[in-house]
Symmetry: C2
Amino acid sequence: MYPALLANVAQYISLTSAEQAYFSSLLVPLRVARFGYVLQAGQPTRSLFFVVRGCVRTYATDAHGQETVLGFAWEGWWGGDAASAMAARPATLTIQALETTEVLLLSLERLEQLCTRVPAFERFFRLLFQNAFLLEQRQRLALLQWPAAERYARFCRQYPRLRQRVAQKYIASYLGMTPEFLSALRTRHG
Amino acid sequence: MYPALLANVAQYISLTSAEQAYFSSLLVPLRVARFGYVLQAGQPTRSLFFVVRGCVRTYATDAHGQETVLGFAWEGWWGGDAASAMAARPATLTIQALETTEVLLLSLERLEQLCTRVPAFERFFRLLFQNAFLLEQRQRLALLQWPAAERYARFCRQYPRLRQRVAQKYIASYLGMTPEFLSALRTRHG
DNA sequence: CGTCTATTTGAATGTACTCAAAAGCGGTGG
DNA sequence: CCACCGCTTTTGAGTACATTCAAATAGACG
């Protein structure tokens, strides 16, 4: 039984204790050391995961080896390379632990099984993807309509703790600017 | 009965004809003339919609009146200001018809009702939001990791017909560049 | 055919990037 | 516990990609 994850699920749906036990039985805990990988580009992947402890960054690497950070996930967040997992293709994204991190893996096979046997989970994952979609859209609009300084200011307001938790260069990449430029922004303003 | 929408739903779930009829009964058809609005920022909104015919653009307007195109929807696509509808707040996005357009409105109240009475729809909307999330993420990564010329080239490959269908300035906005710059790109390359 | 808007063209500007090097900080081991 | 080492952040100069503004041309629609 994993209280943090059950609490996350309970925000959206109610489960009997038998359902909770069944759900828990489908999860595979994984512990990753700092700078280790939850997933590496090129590996087969068929899972999503829930972060119990720690923090990870998700990034794509282009042909020149340039890394682009797509996002972060810490306690209480879901993560994974959903596109690759759903298409049953090797991962295109890499997910690296920025601290000692513990996640619970849920394979898509088991997710489907879960949705069949406990239909409330169909609803849970609908709401999960709905929220993920809204966050993505919001962040994409930020990239399109705000200049770099404004994006950083909003990021600091939205995720004040994350700023002290992950390296500035990763935040810069996530916000679509170079680390040098973010550094210059910080000295100019607050 | 709306064959185009039922075909869209049938890609993911199977419905009895009674379920099809019930689903159809929840939909409200709306016809919008060219340059008319399916939704305007500031209006209350509690619906998503499916495009039967025509094409719309979805955009946000900032404090200076600057418009940013978030996306397009044409025959067979779903649209709406999901964030506002779900939060039960006035729309922040505007959705304008670029041609004479027919949509089918589905209010969130009825969507919830539908999911309760026909649980397969819970699955349908999970998959719909899953796909929407993946598209958003892909487009956000494009903004972060590709230069303007590359984004346009990929857009033309991915949506070749859309290029002839909507004004270039809207495509430029969607791709995160000015219309002047997109025009310059086009004369330089193909 | 005429008007209105979209697209193209061009020049000047600016925001953000690249490259390089110094300074700062944290983790690790002595 | 301190000192070193490596990585992150800062600083600065030069550059480039993309923007702004303005005007001319082209295209669409009535």
